[in-house]
Amino acid sequence: MSDPVTTATSDNPAVIPVQAGPGVNPQGPTQERAASLWSDARRELIRNPIFLASVSFILIVSSMAILPSMWTSKNPRDCDIKFAKLSPSAEHWFGTNVLGCDYYSHAIYGARPSLSIALIATTGVTLIGVVLGMLAGFFGGWVDTLISRIIDMIYSLPFLLGALVILGVLRQSDLLHSDQWWPPVLVVAIVLIILGWVGVARIMRGSVLSAKNLDYVLAAKSLGASNSRLMFRHILPNAIAPVVVVATISLGGYIGAEATLTFLGAGLQPPAVSWGTMIAGNIDYFNEYKYLVLIPCGLLVPTVLSFILAGDALRDALDPKLR
């Protein structure tokens, strides 16, 4: 039976010279070993035009947020009521607002608070929500009961009430009146996080519940995998998809929520500008001066869209079945 008509390749498969195929690094295994869900996803992403477009847009907008002076030489606080509500012109690209401030510089300077609040809040909400939702779903029992009840409690509070009171408390520290730009942003973001993580946590808990008894989780368990490994290597990647969706969606919501809070006087303090406040503060003038609302919307919507599209692309890239 075993009269091996040996060819170079048959005996020890490990030494078969690996022919490089498309997408496989000819350098061989060292490089190849790098492949993991994340590195594959990265490779996938940099070839996805929609992802690239979204990310470019996000980068553009981020550069506005980080270095507004690169985009405009005007000071958003140079306002002259005599030049109020001018239509867009060469002097004022986006016209002026009701106080006679250059609206273009507002649009640029408005990026920073909007984006940073949205990003900080989304990150915080996602982190806390994912971790607590995971713990609740994974361990069940009293951990679940405790976390779920806390979720219930926070969830049933009216958002506005919670936000107003928490902001009131945080305001005592006078963070909202700092000379720095970030303390008020942080304060608003913290409020959004405190009240927002529960949604993500519930979604996460639901996904974990259905993922935790799958065979591959059991398999890892029987290998002696620690709970954290089960949760973060096995369950998390397979349960995160709905969270990504909710997180990217709420990112848009947070920009709006900041506007609502500011509108109620609880958020940023004017004359600080954000896109949300630009929309909220000018909605009354919409009939006559449409550009006052359309311009910030025109920045906000594509930004949120970019985040959502990028999130989608990320999620797809993390699903090997789609490859």
Partner: protein, 527 residues
């Protein structure tokens, strides 16, 4: 002129239902002081006196006469043919008992302070023995009735004031002085839901909270004008934008108060169907005189002069307000145009004055307003003006909710100029002076104290006649606009719109739209 359209000789077609936009009242008892309450109360109640729809002059309604020799003890004589909707007669007791009820502290009626000038008022209030912080609860007040109210007979009584006040008869047209039926005093809760008034209209059914109040003509009304529409439907809106939107959708005949941002559009759209008139609400920027930076008069004058009121009104409010020319409403007897020289925009003069005063030393000026009410925009414009013309940078502090904001003001803790407003309590210009600027004024939030002014007020109250009194108050106004303890900004402007179906629109300078006198072109348009 109060009446917008010229009345035709023949009586206008009466009848029909008019639909009026309003908002949820705090209550439908005369003890409530908010305007949605008052709007309804004025149709179902009638007071001792009325303001004439044409010129705002005080005329007797239920009162036969109100007289005094010393401006201190007033004798009120009543007509005897008025009845409450439940058939009770309107007599001296209706007033005396009602006023005592409102004034009695534990009843917690918002209008209680209006009786504060009557002798014996403080006996009806309880005093906390160990201060507010203390653990003990306040005891029962000493008395249940004010000693200053004395019944002479069924249809006359006397009112004794603690201090002489020439304008007192003008104040009793206010809804807080409306009479109370016995049945109403017996069941105030029920009466709040289903009011028992004495006016030309009476409630149909009862108050549908947050939805509406409907009143119908009272056939037993003894007054001169019987009221034009058969029925007035007050529809309750929470936000003026919604109410206005519903007006635009043809659901309302009268809408009082076009939203500021829609004003320009509405003006073009409704043309002569929009009625405009200066209103009596006064907006000002108070200056904290308790703060060293604002002690210098010239600084205050400079700040006031550096505000281009008209530009702000035009830019932010589409020209919706009337820039203040003094501190008294243009609708009031005794108003003088241009009374305030420091209220005109004059950047050069402002700069000069500030220089004279030695410049500004307070660093960034902090502008205060309460949160969520949309005041930040125009305050920014004010600040921008200062920054531009006086080189004073500013910041806004607009994050305090109303109670906290007011408490901060009451505690004199504002660190910079603060926004406040004022509305008249009664149709007498005194209401714009004493509470705001007298040393002990109930709403003197700037901490202004000028003995000269206090004296003028005293003199005015003791004046022989109303006309005499007005002269003193005008002198007081002159002091105020010179010293600028508050920077007068503007008076509001009514912008009331009406549907095509409205024929005669009647406006009373003091109270606003007179719903009971409105006539319709087609009374049957709404079934």
């Amino acid at each position: 002129a109060g009446c917008q359209t010229d009345s035709t000789p023949e009586a206008p077609a009466a009848g029909g239902t008019i639909r009026v936009g309003s908002s949820e009242a705090a209550g439908l008892l005369p003890g409530f002081d908010d305007s949605p309450s008052i709007v309804v109360l004025r149709t179902i109640y009638a007071g001792l006196v009325e303001n004439d729809n044409n010129d705002g002059k005080v005329v007797n309604q239920i009162a036969q006469s109100i007289t005094s020799d010393d401006n201190k003890t007033w004798t009120v004589k009543l007509k005897n043919n008025y009845k409450f909707h439940n058939g009770e007669a309107v007599n001296a007791d209706s007033f005396i008992n009602g006023w005592n009820y409102v004034a009695y502290g534990p009843n917690a009626q918002p209008n209680a302070p209006f009786f504060g000038s009557i002798v014996g008022w403080s006996d009806l209030q309880s005093e906390d023995p160990d201060g507010e912080e203390g653990p003990q609860k306040a005891p029962e007040p000493k008395a249940k009735t004010m000693s200053g109210l004395k019944k002479i007979d069924d249809f006359s009584f006397t009112v004794t004031l603690a201090e002489p006040f020439v304008g007192w008869p003008a104040t009793v047209g206010y809804s807080g002085f409306f009479p109370w039926a016995k049945a109403c005093l017996a069941d105030t809760k029920g009466c709040n839901e289903t009011p028992i008034g004495n006016g030309p209209y009476k409630i149909e059914g009862s108050w549908r909270h947050n939805v509406g109040v409907t009143v119908v003509r009272n056939p037993d009304w003894a007054g001169a004008s019987k009221g034009k529409p058969d029925k007035i439907e007050f529809k309750i809106y929470d936000k003026i934008d919604t109410g206005y939107a519903d007006f635009e959708a043809g659901e309302l005949d009268i809408w009082d108060g076009v939203p500021p941002a829609k004003y320009k559009e509405a003006k073009g759209k409704y043309g002569e169907r929009m009625f405009e008139n200066p209103s009596n609400t006064f907006t000002y920027v108070g200056l904290p005189l308790y703060n060293d930076n604002f002690k210098e008069v010239k600084v205050r004058q400079a700040l006031s002069l550096a505000i281009d009121r008209q530009a702000i009104i035009d830019a932010v409010f589409d020209g919706r307000f009337s820039a203040a020319q003094g501190v008294i409403s243009p609708n009031f007897e005794g108003y003088r145009p241009g009374a305030c020289a420091n209220c005109k925009y004059d950047a050069a003069k402002a700069k000069a004055l500030l220089a004279e005063a030695g410049g500004w030393k307070g660093g960034k000026i902090v502008l205060w307003a309460n949160a969520g009410a949309g005041h930040d925009k125009w305050l920014q414009a004010v600040g921008d003006g200062w920054k531009r013309d006086l080189g004073i940078d500013y910041e806004l502090k607009v994050d305090l909710q109303f109670p906290q904001y007011l408490a901060t003001g009451d505690a004199k803790k504002f660190t910079g100029p603060f926004r406040l407003g004022w509305g008249p309590d009664y149709a007498f210009l005194e209401t714009y002076i004493t509470p705001l600027y007298s040393t002990t004024g109930s709403s003197n939030s700037s901490g202004y104290s000028n003995p000269e002014l206090d004296k003028l007020i005293k003199d005015a109250a003791a004046a022989k006649s109303i006309a005499d009194g007005i002269k003193f108050y005008q002198q007081a106004e002159d002091l105020v606009v010179r010293d600028i303890p508050v920077i007068p900004m503007w008076f509001g402007r009514t912008a009331n719109v009406r549907s095509e179906n409205v024929k005669d629109y009647v406006y009373n300078k003091i109270h606003g739209t007179v719903y009971t006198e409105i006539t319709l072109k087609d009374p049957n348009a709404v079934k």
